[in-house]
């Protein structure tokens, strides 16, 4: 299919990009890796009149540390997130989740910012960001604001981003000494998650002191499995099985051609147990 005609802009500063968005209003769309946006345009599910390509903003690409915080530019590709030693070191969950995305081509074009902004409930990075209590930095005409990942995702494909705002940066607090694991079940190696679980666990002498668990594709947005987390505070590792049974609480998975809601609920429990066991064991 062929997209409807649109204008194309490739700004070189964040300010220019934001200004262009502010001027065009709802008619404009940001283009990052294009791996989610272009299919939408080609199927003519959307027909923006202006595309603002972030490809000319190298300042949005790359990873650095800022004290105890890992800072990732929005235009950092999945392959870079998966492979960068600082990420593997400070936020292995994020690297692991990025490595499960699609195939090589997708990982070399798709971006962290695009993935978060797109807010697909089956997306892997939104879940990782929520599990890690990441903060998202948004730039708009009035300057920058910071939104916690848990508040960023509002509904299916909907975030708190305003049409004239750009996601520029993702800040992930380092969790030294914590174990983590991202576990995903999908129909084929390059398919989106049927269900996935992100588990981050702090242990002390065989006891779990705190845990954070987030679920992919178990509702319109990434779901923090609060009941599981509560059941795991200050308990021995062998309490994981019982705690994982709470993984379905607060979820509202969809039934679609990939799986029924029932099966998703079952899978969430199995994967929560396995992901937590792996996170606690490492």
């Amino acid at each position: 299919m062929i997209p409807a005609a649109f204008d194309y802009l490739r700004p070189t500063t964040v300010e220019d990009a934001v200004a262009a968005l502010a001027e065009a209003g709802e008619e404009a769309k940001v283009l990052a890796g294009g791996h989610s946006l272009l299919p939408v345009l080609r199927l003519r599910l959307a027909a923006p009149t202006l595309l603002v390509d972030l490809g000319g903003l190298p300042q949005l690409r790359g990873v650095r540390t800022d004290g105890d915080t890992l800072v990732l530019g929005a235009m950092t590709t999945h392959a870079e997130v998966a492979g960068a030693p600082v990420v593997v070191d400070a936020a292995p969950l994020l690297a692991q989740a990025a490595a499960t995305i699609g195939d090589r081509q997708v990982r070399h074009r798709g971006t962290l910012g695009g993935s978060l902004a797109h807010a697909d409930p089956a997306g892997d990075l939104p879940t990782a960001a929520v599990a890690l209590d990441a903060e998202l930095v948004l730039a708009g005409p009035a300057g920058r604001r910071t939104v916690p990942a848990r508040e960023f995702f509002v509904d299916y494909f909907t975030t708190t981003l305003r049409p004239d705002e750009l996601l520029v940066e993702v800040r992930v607090p380092a969790l030294p000494g914590w174990g983590s694991h991202y576990l995903k079940v999908n129909r084929t190696a390059q398919a989106w998650a049927t269900v996935a679980v992100a588990a981050v666990v702090e242990r002390e002498n065989g006891t779990i002191t705190q845990a954070r668990v987030a679920l992919t594709n178990m509702g319109p947005t990434p779901v923090r499995a609060v009941a599981v987390e509560r059941a795991l505070a200050g308990v021995p590792v062998d309490a994981i099985e019982a705690a994982a049974a709470h993984a379905v609480e607060g979820t509202s998975p969809a039934s679609d051609t990939t799986a029924s809601a029932d099966y998703r609920r079952h899978l969430a429990q199995v994967l929560a147990r396995r992901a937590l066991t792996a996170a606690a064991g490492s």
Partner: protein
């Protein structure tokens, strides 16, 4: 002069693992595909398709589209009703079959989502696509017809109202009536054991890498048609026959074609529409479908419900087999739609000596995309059902699945063997292939591991799946096709011409679209004529150079076209012998063709190569009296019987009983495809075939919602597995030459697809059998495996 030749007796070309001559251009894409051919003045076509599964078209208004930028023409089916011709079905399997009228562009009614309704012709593709949005169509929705059984129920809404029924045909093969065996009724009455199963062959999409594409150039006093097709010759014939265009004014070219798998064994409405459009505007018109269009409108495959009943004695001998099929035709009949299940009719008895057999198939119309050939066409379905139910028999009798097969299969010393379906299998050795496969697989070791894991209650259970298959291919003996009411024959043609420098040009009637004919044909010619592999060029796919042929499908190219090539080479060789004898001043009978040249018996240094003969013929200064100055020949081969490759596929699957995920751990196949021309190509065909069979077992399914919309309409929803999802495939061979052709070859193009699906599903069921699972419907997704386990467990609890 004696040249050194590649194809010498010491090292024949046939049997060598030659890299393919085609690969560099195909792999890099630096070649001619229909989509990248541009001719002067060419316009682009876009097609508006029905969003309804069934509706009356009350109005189409294309006038606004005509005012869009760059638009040259816009029209609907009604505008070309008289001139667009009709789509033909070449296989009316019974006398009373319902053959609905099938218009390329719908005229007054649409019968599936995606059916073409109107078109725009514009200067560029984007403008044509944009202008589609300006076409107005009023539809009056009609009731949809989706289920096979509900379509046949009394009072069901009709797909074709004037037919008065949704039944397309019922076709029966009864060994008692045909005299090829006993009556199944007797077997049923005497059976010690009766096993009945219902299997569903889900609908699949052929999904070749290159979508369909066509360019019609009406320039000059003729029509040149480029098409991404498997069947340029049949396209030419049918276009002439259904539009009244003189056949000799039509030239069809299939340039390099990026896969077909049966999906391009089709003449398509889109080809006819592009032809009508080019005639209307008097300019070349190109149409290339998008993937979304391809998924919904190119024909689908499979989609059958199989009721199969096996009658047996308690010693494991099968005494009779009865098969009842419902086959989904979709809304219309493509060229071989009704015949696809019939190709399976002869294969349910498979490699076994069943004494009684009855097969009945009813074709059913529904308001869905039409079905037609997909890799294996009828034979994978048959093989699946019989190989699944043989496992059920083994389970019932507590026998190893291979042992049950052994007790029923045709032994190697019983060939040639006439089956209960009336076919004569020329050769085979099921024992040898099975033995070799078991060795490579480590069958006994894996069975021991399975037993251990069962006892330990391991959440990941091991399953072992078996499939001992045969198939009929090499389509086909013309007289048998005639007896089955197929519209054409099954011969193939080849011609060979020697150039003055000793190079060879071969023209083949086969139409490769990824199979590597250029390479295999070069190997055959090298041996036959004593020329170098690199000195052979193979021309195909252009009806102007290859004026005669029946194209490529049904694993026929080598087993039929390859034999025509051998016969043509032999004719050339005999012509050359006369010339060599003249040059060497001896009698033709004094010469033997050895080590790539004609040699005087007893004086082997006195020799002439074919190349030297070719030069002498070119000069024509000194030819024997009455000998024409040419060294060319043509031959046509019509096989006397089908080709029957066979083999044993073994599959080990780890089934995670908590998630339901089935992971193939080991896959071993030993195929017997007779003499092998190129082992690398054979292995490639087996690998690709196995991959597609695994895809049916585990991944793929075309699903319609209750309104008849294809919900798996993109490659994101229709999960084609990639290399990352597939196991290492250990492929080996036994070689029992076919006795029905001079090369001893059998077909290999479909074997892997036919064999692998039941091997995988048998393995999954085997893993779960202790839990009471006896079937998992395809595709065996994690959820379906999990559900089968849940159901079986609750059943066991209820029983206990």
């Amino acid at each position: 002069m004696t040249a050194t030749l590649a194809g010498t007796a010491a090292e024949p070309e046939v049997g060598r693992a030659r890299l393919r001559k085609e690969d560099a251009r195909l792999v890099t894409g630096r070649t001619r595909w229909t989509e990248n051919i541009t001719v002067p003045g060419m316009l682009h076509l876009a097609i508006l398709r029905s969003p309804h599964a069934h509706a009356r078209i009350s109005r189409v208004d294309t006038s606004a589209a005509l005012r869009e930028p760059n638009v040259i023409a816009a029209f609907s089916g009604a505008d070309v009703a008289e001139t667009q011709g009709t789509m033909a079905c070449a296989w009316p399997v019974t006398e009373d079959i319902v053959l609905p009228i099938y218009r390329p562009l719908a005229v007054d009614e649409v019968r599936h989502v995606g059916e073409p309704v109107a078109v725009v012709v514009a200067r560029d593709r984007a403008s044509a696509t944009d202008a589609l949005e300006a076409i107005e169509v009023d539809y009056e929705p009609l009731p949809v017809v989706l289920g096979l059984e509900s379509a046949l129920a009394d009072g069901a809404p009709l797909v074709h109202a004037d037919a008065g029924t949704n039944k397309c045909y019922t076709w029966v093969l009864d060994s008692g009536e045909a005299g090829t065996g006993k009556a199944v009724g007797e077997a049923a009455a005497a059976a010690e054991l009766t096993i009945h199963r219902r299997y569903v062959q889900q609908r699949l999409v052929p999904a070749s890498m290159e979508p369909r594409s066509v360019l019609v150039d009406p320039t000059g006093d003729e029509w040149t048609i480029y098409s991404a097709t498997q069947i340029p010759h049949i396209l030419r014939f049918l276009l002439a026959a259904t539009t009244g265009t003189p056949e000799h004014k039509i030239r069809v070219i299939a340039p390099d074609v990026g896969g077909g798998f049966g999906g391009k064994l089709a003449v398509t409405p889109e080809e006819w529409i592009a032809f009508a459009a080019a005639n209307r505007v008097g300019k070349p018109v190109k149409y290339t479908e998008s993937r979304s269009e391809s998924m919904v409108s190119a024909h689908h495959g499979r989609d059958m419900i199989q009721d199969i009943t096996l009658y047996a004695r308690r010693d494991g001998t099968v005494t009779g087999l009865s098969v009842k099929l419902l086959a989904n035709m979709g809304a219309y009949l493509g060229i071989v739609t009704p015949g696809v299940p019939i190709l399976g009719a002869f294969m349910y008895n498979a490699i076994y000596k069943f004494p009684a057999y009855r097969f009945e198939c009813t074709g059913v119309f529904t308001t869905t995309t039409k079905t037609d050939a997909y890799r294996g066409a009828g034979r994978p379905e048959a093989t699946y059902a019989i190989e699944r139910i043989m496992d059920e028999l083994a389970a019932e009798l507590d026998l190893d699945p291979l042992e049950v097969r052994r007790r029923n299969w045709i032994r190697h010393d019983e060939f040639p063997f006439t089956t209960v379906a009336g076919l004569e299998y020329d050769s085979g050795n099921y024992e040898a292939a099975t033995e070799k496969a078991m060795q490579l697989f480590g069958y006994d070791t894996l069975r021991a591991e399975q037993a251990k894991r069962r006892v330990a209650g391991d959440p990941v259970q091991l399953g072992i799946g078996v499939s001992t298959y045969t198939e009929m291919c090499g389509l086909a003996p013309s007289r048998i096709l005639g007896a089955l009411r197929y519209g054409a024959g099954g011969w193939e043609s080849a011609s060979v011409r020697l150039l003055p420098t000793g190079k060879v040009e071969v023209v083949t009637g086969t139409s490769p679209h990824g199979q590597g004919h250029v390479t295999s044909w070069s190997q055959i010619v090298a041996d036959q004529l004593g020329v170098a592999f690199d000195d052979v060029e193979v021309l195909h796919g252009d009806t102007r150079t290859s004026h005669k042929g029946l194209d490529t499908y049904g694993s026929r190219s080598l087993a039929v076209g390859g034999i025509a090539l051998v016969l043509a080479c032999q004719k050339v060789r005999e012509k050359a012998r006369t010339i060599a004898a003249h040059l060497l001043e001896c009698a033709p009978d004094d010469l033997e063709f050895a080590d790539g040249a004609f040699r005087v018996r007893g004086t082997p240094t006195s020799a002439k190569t074919i190349g030297e003969c070719a030069l002498a013929v070119f000069a024509a200064h000194d030819l024997p009296d009455g000998v024409e100055p040419q060294l060319d020949a043509e031959a046509t081969f019509d096989p006397q019987t089908f080709s029957f490759p066979h083999g044993t596929h073994l599959c080990a699957v780890d089934v995670d009983t908590e998630t339901g995920a089935a992971t193939i751990r080991k896959y071993v196949c030993v195929d017997d495809v007779g003499t092998v021309v190129n082992p690398l190509i054979v292995e490639g065909q087996v690998h690709g075939g196995v991959a597609q069979g695994i895809a049916q077992a585990l991944y793929e399914e075309a699903v319609f919602d209750e309104d008849g919309n294809l919900v798996t309409g993109s490659l994101a929803d229709y999960t084609v597995p990639s290399s990352a999802d597939l196991p290492e495939i250990v492929s080996d061979r036994t070689e029992t030459p076919a006795t029905s052709n001079p090369l001893g070859v059998k077909g290999v193009g479909e074997a892997g697809t036919i064999a692998s699906t039941p091997a995988v599903v048998n393995a999954i069921v085997d893993a779960l059998r202790p839990s009471g699972v006896t079937d998992v419907p395809m595709p065996c997704t994690p959820e379906r495996v999990w559900r089968a386990l849940q159901t079986a467990r609750s059943g066991q609890e209820v029983a206990a």
